[in-house]
């Protein structure tokens, strides 16, 4: 790779764009595209990066998150962005960190988290992820449940996670909106929200909705009931969207939060994150997306994705998978360890494979989960490199969350969300030594001052000490 240098002027442009995007959007250019600009931008991100200084990592090994591997390279971060990647960068006066024999990757991204909505401790008062009162609750937003002091955020950060997508649970056909966050605990939810990241809509196939509502003797109690429930809602949403597009404001329907969300999907502004285990159900969801003309971004917990790998590749739909979870329910029975690799390699390697966690422990070790999935794929006959597998926990989840233009790779101009690992990140013995978010140290293994401790952790066991040291 040749040295890539972005001139500072361009860099400033990027930063100011990002800032103006946050502050000015409701009154800015997008107004003409939007029916209700003020409403659309409600609860917008107020995130601003922590203070940072220019940092030069010397002699690092780098996985760029796109499949590239660079040995003995330098990486320069400045003003929250990646400024330069090269074989020998000189930047007088900046903080230099010797990264010899260490590895740098993009910050790890989890496309499926319930941190903050199923906080720790997992007590009933913190069970805020499933509005399991009706099968269609597209009106709820996961971010409105988020507990900013969830100690799980800081634990994930130590595992190198710089961004995560929080989804509602899977009790409902439409569970509500998901949102993406930068992994810095703040006192307000808006201050943690990833600037400019689109919302998602959580949908759920299969056993969960039919069990939850079937047990209450209401619809859906079958998989066909699930389908009827989704389709009825989309019919309403199409009508609502048509109504909202009327030029005469008086003829528009009364605003409806659930319909706003479904309309956002039909307008391509809200991304579908679809919990769906079984192959034929995923294929059915694709049929339905054609019926109502919307796009599915990702199938989550796609245990049987490998059975329809070509279809998913053809449709440009990502599959977010565990490395090896199975057996806890019937629709998770047909697990293969090569699932991630089969999706990745579909249609000449055009598949979009993601390793996700759905779990506060798993999110801390997504590098190990990717290592297992890669090794299983290679045992099944593929030749997948570590550099390539790194995509499964960086650029691919960034793409699925709609934030790939900002993060998820080590490329000039991207947010400086990077992890310095003590060794190769695919080894169990490697630990995240430094985690940077927008160029600022968010975690440093060797500096207790740069290890976040939430309010929850403070003095909770003994007043003199904190829960985590």
């Amino acid at each position: 790779m040749k040295n890539k240098v972005l001139i500072p002027i361009l860099l400033f442009t990027i930063i100011s764009c990002s800032e103006s995007f946050n502050i000015d959007l409701p009154f800015g250019d997008t107004e003409s595209d939007s029916i209700n600009p003020g409403i659309d931008n409600a609860f917008a991100s107020t995130y601003s990066p922590m203070d940072s200084e220019p940092i030069l990592f010397k002699s690092a090994n780098i996985y760029d998150g796109l499949g590239g591997e660079f040995r003995n390279y330098d990486l320069l971060l400045s003003e929250g962005k990646i400024l330069e990647i090269g074989e020998s960068i000189s930047a007088p006066g900046v903080l230099v960190i010797d990264a010899t024999d260490k590895w740098i990757t993009p910050g790890i991204i989890d496309i499926h988290s319930h941190m903050g909505v199923y906080s720790a401790p997992g007590v009933s008062t913190s069970s805020d992820g499933n509005e399991a009162t009706a099968p269609v609750t597209a009106e709820v937003w996961a971010e409105h449940s988020l507990w900013t002091q969830d100690p799980q955020f800081a634990l994930a950060l130590k595992g190198g996670v710089t961004s995560f997508h929080v989804l509602p649970g899977s009790a409902n056909l439409f569970g509500g909106r998901g949102a993406t966050f930068k992994n810095i605990s703040q006192n307000t939810i808006q201050a943690m929200k990833f600037p400019g990241a689109p919302h998602s809509l959580k949908m759920a196939c299969g056993e969960n909705p039919k069990r939850v509502y079937g047990n209450r003797r209401q619809s859906p109690s079958t998989r066909m009931g699930n389908m009827a429930g989704y389709r009825s809602a989309w019919i309403d949403a199409v009508k609502y969207t048509d109504g909202m597009n009327k030029t005469d404001e008086d003829r528009r329907p009364t605003r409806d939060l659930a319909m706003d969300t479904l309309m956002g999907v039909l307008n391509g502004e809200i991304l579908i994150q679809n919990h769906c285990y079984r192959a034929e159900e995923m294929a059915m969801m694709i049929e339905m997306s054609r019926e109502f003309n919307y796009k599915i971004t990702t199938f989550h917990h796609a245990v049987e994705a490998y059975k329809i790998a070509d279809l998913l590749a053809d449709e440009g739909i990502c599959a977010a998978m565990w490395a090896d979870w199975w057996g806890f329910k019937h629709e998770a029975y047909d697990m293969v360890q090569a699932n991630v690799a089969i999706i990745d390699q579909a249609r000449n390697g055009t598949g979009c494979a993601i390793v996700h966690s759905d779990d506060a422990v798993g999110i801390q070790h997504l590098n190990q989960e990717a290592a297992k999935a890669m090794a299983a794929g290679n045992r099944a006959g593929y030749e997948i490199s570590k550099a390539h597998a790194m995509r499964w926990i960086t650029s691919n989840p960034a793409k699925a969350a709609g934030i790939l233009d900002q993060t998820g790779t080590i490329e000039v101009g991207k947010d400086a969300d990077v992890v310095l690992w003590s060794g190769n990140p695919f080894s169990i013995y490697s630990r995240a030594e430094k985690v940077l978010i927008d160029g600022a140290f968010a975690f440093d293994l060797n500096n207790p001052k740069i290890q976040p401790i939430t309010d929850f952790d403070l003095g909770i066991i003994q007043p003199q000490t904190n829960r985590v040291q």
Binding site: L155, Y306, R467
Partner: protein, 413 residues
């Protein structure tokens, strides 16, 4: 093969059991805590008969070149649902719960050697396991049994060799739980002096809704040193468990113990082995506020015997990933290997297993890489001297769906 001159009958049984095999030149982790060495392992008639570098073999011995790959004892899960739960969310596939029995609930006769979890875990290196009841009764769930995971309908195992229970947050007060536990142990003590019938007639037995099986099992825990495996986390609960151990002379094993570092001296002094999940650093409840990834290191440095559980059902082999993380956070490597094998065997009195030593049953794994790296995988799985098939439903499905022939998948077999 050796002993060809033996009678036909003997040759027949010999064939059924195993051939004589030399695993040549493996990096052998004995499971005893010793550091690894390049050695040969000679296996005959189910058993490890020799370890060394210049073992004398005859022409009938099958020699398998291991070429320096790591060799460990077969992994033993100290706590699993193998063979008794097929699918967790489907009650009709579960045999781990009882409405009738509590302390005396035995799952032994429910064990299904054809459960899909068995080939899966076996192909991932788990050669035997404790299978245990779930928490259908509280605070004691019932009795766990040890099973050899060779899939044979002729069940090889040790029936009802440990009792499992839990102390900690529940719907009632833990003070009540402690009082119930003590009453149960008092009943167990009575088995020494009273008949089961006499105990059954007592008010206390009636109040605790005990059946004769429960009383017999409690007697074994209190009077015969049957391992009593108790899950508990809060520091003060660990102390309560340790004082119960002292009072009743229990052969106590503690599970989870996330706040153990706060009561390390007492735990060490009590000589109590523990089963931990080194990856569980989540304060899942108000009992587990002290949970951290340093637990394994701290317990190891105190010399406490450590075994490994995993959070995930069906993947008991992931104890390797837990053990690996423990090592990444400071546990010694050989403690980790021992914790997946010999410590389990010693704790549950599986005297003929758990380590690579002459005289032990040959449950042996040859790995394609460092066994603590989750990306490594077994190359050879041997149970009682017999090489095991490494296929599973998972490998079958993989073959089917990586087959590119143009026909319906149901015809790809």
């Amino acid at each position: 093969m050796k002993r060809l001159s033996l009678s036909l009958f003997l040759i027949f049984t010999f064939n059924l059991s195993s051939e004589t095999i030399l695993l040549k030149g493996g990096l052998v982790h004995s499971g005893n805590g010793d550091s690894s060495k390049i050695q040969d392992i000679l296996i005959s008639d189910k058993t490890i008969v020799g370890i060394g570098t210049n073992l004398i073999i005859d022409g009938n011995t099958r020699v398998i070149e291991v070429n320096g790959l790591p060799v460990t004892p077969g992994l033993i899960s100290p706590m699993s649902n193998l063979g008794i739960v097929e699918i967790n969310a489907l009650d009709v596939t579960r045999d781990d719960e009882s409405d009738l029995l509590s302390a005396g609930f035995s799952i032994f006769n429910a064990f299904n050697p054809h459960s899909t979890g068995i080939p899966w875990n076996r192909s991932n290196g788990v050669t035997s396991a404790m299978s245990t009841p779930s928490a259908s009764s509280f605070p004691i769930f019932g009795l766990g049994s040890h099973f050899v995971l060779d899939g044979s309908l002729e069940i090889k195992g040790s029936k009802d060799i440990a009792m499992y229970g839990r102390l900690g947050a529940s719907y009632g007060s833990r003070a009540e739980t402690l009082s119930v536990l003590e009453s149960l142990l008092d009943i167990g003590k009575m088995v020494k002096t009273l008949s089961i019938e006499e105990i059954l007639e007592m008010n206390l037995a009636d109040q605790l809704e005990l059946q004769s099986q429960d009383i017999i099992a409690l007697g074994k825990v209190v009077n015969d040193g049957m391992p009593f495996v108790l899950e508990t986390n809060r520091a003060v609960d660990i102390l309560q468990a340790l004082s119960m151990k002292k009072k009743y002379g229990l052969n106590l094993v503690l599970v989870s113990v996330e706040e153990a570092p706060m009561v390390l001296d007492q735990l060490k002094e009590s000589n109590t082995p523990v089963i931990i999940d080194p990856m569980d650093n989540i304060p899942n409840s108000f009992d587990e506020l002290g949970s951290s990834l340093d637990l394994g290191k701290i317990l190891d440095q105190a010399g406490i015997p450590i075994m490994f559980s995993t959070q995930r059902s069906h993947n008991y082999h992931l104890m390797r990933q837990g053990a690996g993380n423990a090592v990444a956070y400071g546990m010694s490597y050989e403690t980790a290997i021992k914790g997946m094998s010999n410590t389990v065997a010693q704790t549950f009195r599986l005297d003929n297993r758990g380590s690579i030593e002459a005289g032990k049953l040959a449950d042996v794994i040859v790995w394609d890489g460092d066994p603590l790296e989750p990306s490594s995988f077994p190359k050879i799985v041997m149970i009682e001297g017999k090489l095991q098939d490494l296929s599973s439903r998972s490998t079958k499905l993989t073959e089917r769906y990586t087959n590119t022939e143009n026909k319906p998948s149901s015809y790809k077999h």
